[in-house]
Amino acid sequence: MSDRAGSEPAFESSVLRAYAPGSSNALTLSDESALAKTIVRAEAGSPASASLAVSFGSSRREGATLVLGQRPDEYMLIGSAQSNASIVARLDTSGHVSVIDHTHSRALFRLTGAQASATLEKVCSLDWSNAMTPDGAVVSASIAKVNCDIARNDREPVDAEPASASPSYLIACDRSFGQYLFDALIDAGGEFGIGVVTAADGLQE
């Protein structure tokens, strides 16, 4: 293990089971676990909290990073390692502030499609309508009995017509539940023709 010191271990996803690529465009699931995830804890009113500039339950895009307000005093940065690092480098860490790299400890999936909300509603007790969880919303909830942090991050603005809406959700959970949750989402989306697609390189524009 001489290469441990000073070098970043290679990323390995918790999702190892292979699924045939899906043919349906209506509902897709991808493993985005390789995106960097940085969790910042900063109490409300601290300089770090102010500079992250996102309130609990919402998110915003900064460069190649999505900044999530996932607890009243906790933020998750999802994006490229360089982009997350540049945001962290500018943080004023005075007061009670911690910054921890969770890239290897959290699994991350993207569920996209007109039936994505209907799929979540089968395995989660929250209301996934546009009114309650619009694009940008961040919530934490139990999905298929796994505690998850979810950010709605649509590929394109969802217009008023439900038929053309394609909501997209980033779903993060502990790495050890990754394969189970991936399988559970495939199972829940089965009736809607869910298909596995390869991860997009980075966040959706």
């Binding site: 609990f56 339950g57 607890r71 009243p72 007790s125 919530v139 909830a141 139990s142």
Partner: protein, 90 residues
């Protein structure tokens, strides 16, 4: 299904919560007798009526909060209020 009002997340299924128990003042550990400490930890009033109790938003915002619930009809009547000091029942 019991809908528990979280101060941050709004009403949530009780399955998303952890029930902490009856709320009451925590005795001073420096002066409390063993009997008082045991009473604080283990004895509950279990009234038929209004009960001040602490919940933990386990799957949501991870906040402890206090509500008042009528145990005869499961209606939440007061609260929620945030618990700002951890380490005991509020």
């Amino acid at each position: 299904m019991l809908l528990v009002p979280c101060p941050n997340c709004g009403p949530r299924n009780a399955a998303d919560m952890r029930y902490v128990g009856e709320s009451g003042p925590r005795p001073d550990p420096n002066t409390a007798t063993p009997a008082q400490w045991r009473d604080y930890l283990y004895t509950e009033r279990n009234p038929a009526g209004l009960l001040r109790e602490t919940w933990y938003c386990r799957s949501g915002c991870r906040t402890f909060f206090v509500v008042e619930r009528d145990t005869t009809n499961n209606q939440f009547v007061h609260g929620p209020t945030r618990v700002t000091k951890l380490g005991g029942k509020a």
